[in-house]
Symmetry: C2
Subunit: 273 residues, 2 copies
């Protein structure tokens, strides 16, 4: 998928919602556990109930790897299902990968070719040659961690470097010099909304993937104040708040209601665009 | 495995060699490709030919994920094989994972429980709550990226923060304050041997996992000059130089010869311990 297609989808759905498919067998409705593949079944029903309200889905690989082979199989089935039934959806592997050059190429092949995701999240710590291999794939996006939403983000991301610039700003600036930098997006957590003004000064045009709205305490409105750009430029993620809104036979309906609530707020926030 | 057992193994084998099992189907001998699981078959033969010379094996997950389900299956078979046949071996999942707290717990379960690795490599960028969940598992080790061996390591790891300390030193210092910090090890690349003196001032007692000797240009002797401590304290990784030393029916024998060459150098370097 290219950027124009993503923007087109956002404008037609009046939504910039990304739904995190972080499936925990201890949290999904118990009636699903008797099925052959409860993880995939859960995802399929969530997708069917919400795909008109969301523009992106983001399975976090940790939740699948924790179940071993059957988890990996459920992940593969989920991306195949999305691509076959909802090809307009932007798909993100929240994998936070990154390694030396030839090894990052392997990860890129795993998520862009072996599974056909549109985007992958990547950890920046190892620098240029760990990130550029992902950017070599055309019409695929590399979503670099910059300022994350968790408490530990203060440990290293906010360390002051020369001219008092925190590390995460250096990462944004440096990343713009990487080859095919137009295929970058950045993770900026909603829990630090005051950072969006500075982020938009450095990367006015790139999409930002924003976790931390809802369960983690971030505010949609605060993020949008500085985060929105003329092309919207935001993908706001919500995982637990939506997918675990209900816990019985009507779970997908409950998820849909929660997603609608967020989409309606988004429609108002992007009304001027 | 606990630290005393690892040290015992090192002393009895007179080796601190870690062999990287980074299997590329385009590089392994062609006669293996007709077998049912060429990746596992390759690993098994390499392990059988070298396990008396090495104390650790380190599959990099990227190489397995690139082959999808069958790759993940080969990884699982490899760790089961190692644990059943060579329980004294220290096993490292080179996965470079890391995520917000409850998600890191999932990765820890994937590699410490679902697959029974002794250690996993973890990326530090997200800070304390992304790292401590791995440290909760007793007799398991968390190997934190500090100073990597690749060219891009200069981008962010060497950025100067307050008192002119580079980011990677801050990571070492901060990590020592994490709960169960005694279960940490650190990745320090061999390509910057001058850093080992400073690293040993900050973490005199922790094990260091050292990539970059051989193909990437690092020197074993230079690393040992400051890196060795009274308990050896080093795991020197070699991947391509050993596993692809040969490319025909005798590949495992060739790998063994190359591993022996390195082990003999190590025996001399640790003679005084």
């Amino acid at each position: 998928m290219n950027k124009a297609q993503l923007i087109q989808q956002i404008k037609s759905k009046r939504s910039f919602l990304c739904i995190g498919l972080d499936v925990d067998l201890e949290k999904i409705p118990s009636h699903l556990l008797q099925m052959e593949d409860p993880i995939f079944e859960f995802n399929k029903q969530i997708i069917e109930a919400t795909h008109h309200l969301a523009v992106a889905y983001k399975p976090n690989t940790a939740f699948y790897e924790a179940y071993g082979l059957k988890g990996w199989m459920a992940l593969e089935k989920t991306i195949v299902y999305l691509n076959q039934n909802h090809p307009e959806i932007f798909t993100i592997a929240d994998a936070k990968r990154g390694d030396i050059g030839n090894t990052s190429t392997r990860y890129a092949k795993a998520f862009f070719e072996q599974m056909s995701f549109d985007a992958i999240t990547v950890a920046p710590y190892m620098g240029r040659d760990s990130i550029e291999p992902f950017l070599e794939f055309s019409e695929k996006f590399t979503i670099l961690l910059a300022l994350t939403s968790n408490p530990g983000s203060g440990d290293f991301q906010m360390l002051k470097t020369g001219h008092k610039k925190p590390v995460f700003e250096r990462i944004l600036q440096k990343a713009l010099t990487y080859k095919n930098a137009e295929q970058l997006m950045f993770v900026i957590g909603a829990t630090q909304p005051e950072s969006f003004k500075r982020v938009r000064e450095i990367v006015p045009n790139h999409f930002l993937l924003v976790p931390g709205v809802g369960a983690q305490g971030g505010s949609l409105e605060a993020v949008c104040q500085y985060g929105l750009n003329a092309e919207v430029g935001l993908l706001i993620n919500s995982s637990r708040d939506i997918i675990y809104a209900g816990n019985d036979i009507n779970f997908a309906q409950k998820a849909s209601e929660k997603a609608l609530e967020i989409q309606q707020k988004m429609e108002i926030l992007m009304a001027h665009l």
